[in-house]
Every structure is written in C-alpha cells, then in structure tokens.
Symmetry: C2
Subunit: 121 residues, 2 copies
C-alpha cells in the first residue's frame, strides 16, 4: 500500500481526445524550446572559448542535461500534470498553451507549478 502522497489525485484523471491532442502539442513545443536552448548553449560554449579541450566541457554538459532531459520529458498521462507544472515553472511552457485542458487539470498544474517555483527559491 503506497502512501497518499505517492498517489496524488491527478494521477487518475481522464484525458479526452481534445485534451490529449492539446497536451501533445504543448509537450512537443516545450521540448523543442528547451532543446533549442541546449543547442544554443553548446554553440556559445564553443564560440566563447578557443581551448581545444572545450569539447570535453561540452561532452560533460550534454551528458548532464541528457539525464535531466530524459527524466523531465516523460509523456505518460499518469505524470503529465507534474510534467506540465514543472515546464510552466521553468518557463518552457505558458499556461495559455494548456487552455484546452479542463479546469481541474489547469488548477492542478497551476498549484504544482507554484510548488516547483518555491522549490527553486
């Protein structure tokens, strides 16, 4: 028997076809934005240093973000509320892009997103 906190109320939500489509679009948009930022950061790392050993700094950075990236972009409906909350908190996604989700989902995302924000502070 799991503890209550491991099974938050949003784990069992129903996702309509419209919501699934909106969720996928928002998820992919956030992923593309963050990936573009990673690429841009790698290019800056190379532009800002002539050191040939800078490639090892790039390698370490990419290995580090890979772990984080793979963990973050998890498209399972059972965790998607938490994923969206984090993406909103980190600025990769705006709440407006999730407007097709129903009110209860939006409330959960807003709530969780605020929690993410305060975790960073």
């Amino acid at each position: 028997m799991g503890q209550p906190s491991q099974f938050p109320p949003w784990r069992e939500l129903h996702w309509s076809p419209t919501e699934k489509k909106a969720a996928r679009t928002a998820f992919d948009a956030a992923l593309r934005r963050e990936l573009a930022a990673i690429r841009s950061h790698v290019e800056s790392m190379l532009n800002d240093s002539d050191d040939i050993a800078q490639v090892w700094v790039v390698r370490d950075y990419l290995n580090e973000v890979t772990r984080e990236f793979d963990r973050k972009y998890d498209y399972r409906y059972s965790v998607l509320i938490a994923v969206f909350a984090r993406l909103v908190a980190e600025g990769w996604l705006s709440l407006d892009e999730l407007a097709d989700l129903d009110r209860s989902k939006m409330d959960f995302i807003r709530e969780q997103s605020a929690a993410w924000g305060s975790r960073d502070a």
Copy 2:
C-alpha cells in the same frame, strides 16, 4: 605467467632524460592535433545541420571518441612505443618528431607502425 606476446621486447627499454623530454613533446603535440580535429569535427557537425537534435549526435560522438582517446593517449614508458607507433600510423605524429629517440626505439616504432597500418587496411 603471461604469454610472450604480452611482453614485447620494447617494454623494458631504458629511456634517457633527453628521450623522455622528446617523447613528452611528441606525445603532447599529437594529443593537441587530435583534440583540435575532434573540436573541428564537432563544429562541422553543428554547422552542417540546423536540427536542434543534432546536440545528441554530438554527445554520442564525443562519448565515443572519449573512450578511444583515453585508451590511446597512455603515457607509460612500458607502452609508449606502441602508442607512438599508432599515432604515426594514424598520422597524428611524424617519425621526424621522434628523431631524438635511439635507433632501437625508432626501429620498434617503425615496425609497429607498419603493423597498425596493415591492421586498418
């Protein structure tokens, strides 16, 4: 008891201070050249593709060359003849840069280098 092939005759060679200095200079020059080529390849990979996911291709490439690079650039006198032979065979080092080594070392390197060359063919 190891097999004879694991203990080639050049494993127990004596390295004079002059030879050690020349070896270190040649080793570092080869390492810098190969590292510069890796950096240049990474820059080309990014310049040749606008795909944001190209960073993962770069990551995989760097992880792959890291393994090879660390194994190759092994500055222990017991393996240095084989290391130089490989670097000469691969074009990262010229025999001229090893001219301060004694004749027996040069012969071993030339011999082993030819073996590396035929291994690639």
